[in-house]
Amino acid sequence: MTKPLDVDRKMPIVKKAVSNPYPLKESAIVKWSLITISLLYISLFLILPLISIFVTALEKGWETYVASIVHPDALAAIKLTITVALIVVPLNAVFGIAAAWLITKFTFRGKNLLVTLIDLPFAVSPVIAGLIFILLFGAQGLFGDWLFEHDIKIVFALPGIILATLFVTFPFVARELIPLMQTQGITEEEASISLGASGWKTFFYVTLPNIKWGLLYGLILCNARAIGEFGAVSVVSGHIRGETNTMPLHIEILYNEYQFTAAFAVASIMSILAILTIIIKHIASWKAKEF
């Protein structure tokens, strides 16, 4: 009690507070071996594959790399993939918001069933996802004859690819928004409506700003899957070069024709997109946490 207090006030605190190390923390050996195991595992399964894509793509120099990308078939694949993403992502965004809104802000019968149905595409193999659209719209399918008579092509054409991609990416946005909107509750909406705002205004001024980062997060995942979907699209596309080949399918064809450099060149573009996706995703989740 007798120690002069002003000493304490003036001295900057240099010493770091050390918690009792033994029972509350692991020893340094355990800590660093766990870190090493994790790093090794991630290098082996994630980092090395990523690096190998770029190395293989550039193996034969920039010229070959550029040539593989500006090849008409490759450009057509890129165009198709962008088209698909541009159609699928907004559609699923609208649906995802609507479904999450319905599920979190209202109570109604069959709500649990709806939640299960939204998740369903996650549990179904992409190949089966493709298969069901063949069964519906294929030549022998349910609507096959009718479509043939009216000369409408769905399977082995753009509409089929879009449908299959829609199915596979269906849950992403809703899945991301439901828990978010659940924790936010409906008090703010009620306040807004009690202050005289209309339903739409409430949505745009209250709900949307609250969920924007979660929405972005869902959209970015949805987009990544839409661009990269392989199994489902592979079934319904028919693999017509320059017409119904998306980027992943184009990669497959090149790879199977032993054009490795070209395959990896296209793959490297998709990897850059993937890395961008991860970066945006993390920014979105940081921003979402700030709320």
Binding site: P23, L24, K25, E26, S27, L34, I35, I37, S38, L39, Y41, I42, F45, L46, L48, L50, S52, T56, L117, I118, P121, F122, A123, V124, S125, P126, V127, I128, G130, L131, I132, F133, I134, L135, G138, Q140, L163, L166, F170, L221, A224, R225, I227, G228, E229, F230, G231, S234, M247, P248, L249, I251, F260, F264, A267, M270, S271, T277, I278, H282
Partner: protein, 253 residues
């Protein structure tokens, strides 16, 4: 709702409709064909193996990311999402090349990895990793320090605290992560076809059998196999949910 029915329910119901058009004998013959049966075993076995590997290492990675600080941690944390973001076909060709006998990693082993069941397990491990890490991570994050402190104040050492107090708290998340990774692996196609080698009876996974039948315009046969897959994964998920439900009953505050 119309949208949901059009995109999800109607297409899926086609599976049932198409199966009903088959006779029982035909159906049974298709799904018990030796090639099909071998593929079930392979798909199931490799998904199980990959799931288990990921539960162990995924939990370690989640632990390291939450509890420790080290240089490059943020980058590692971001990289965990790579399998979510990278197209499966891209992952497939990259892994195949790496683990091929002449590949960067494959050349260090005197046995083949690519084009064997081991290769399939590797591809599925890649696909499933983020599921485990991302389900265990938040649980670990929210786990109060208090229970660990209580354990220490009662005289437990760090290992006892981990095994008896922390791990039981993580089990539900680990099981969820496992079931997500497992069900994704079961149906995975893109990353596996390249590395599998696709030899009938040996390295042919079930989704590939469906694909092959489709290419031969055997829609009915493809549907039959699809039914087996759907029912199979449904039963497994039900089983996992049952375990979780039993654990959760006594668990929730």
């Amino acid at each position: 709702m119309l949208y949901l029915s059009f995109i999800v329910i109607l297409p899926l119901s086609m599976i049932v409709v198409n199966t009903l058009s088959m006779s029982w004998g035909e159906f049974f013959e298709t799904i018990t064909h030796p090639r099909a049966v071998a593929s079930y075993k392979l798909s199931f076995g490799s998904a199980l193996a990959a799931g288990l590997i990921n539960v162990i290492f995924g939990t370690i990675i989640a632990w390291v990311l939450i509890r420790y600080d080290f240089p490059g941690k943020k980058i590692i944390d971001g990289l965990v999402d790579l399998p979510f973001a990278l197209p499966t076909a891209v992952a497939g060709i990259a892994l195949t090349t790496l683990y091929a006998p002449s590949g960067w990693i494959g050349k260090f082993f005197d046995f083949k990895i690519s084009y064997t069941p081991l290769g399939i397990v590797i591809a599925l491990t890649f696909i499933g990793l983020p599921f485990v890490v991302r389900t265990v991570q938040p649980v670990l994050q929210n786990l109060g320090r208090e229970v660990e402190e209580a354990s220490a104040s009662l005289g437990a050492n760090r290992f006892q605290t981990f095994v008896k107090v922390i791990l039981p708290e993580l089990y539900p998340a680990m099981i969820t992560g496992f079931s997500l990774a497992f069900s994704r692996s079961l149906g995975e196609y893109g990353s596996v076809v390249f590395i599998a080698g696709n030899m009938p009876m040996k390295t042919e996974i079930t989704p590939l059998i469906i694909m092959t039948k489709l290419e031969q315009y055997d829609y009915v046969g493809a549907t039959a196999i699809a039914v087996v897959m759907l029912v199979g994964s449904f039963i497994i998920l039900l089983f996992i949910n049952l375990i979780q439900w039993r654990m959760n009953r006594k668990f929730n505050y």
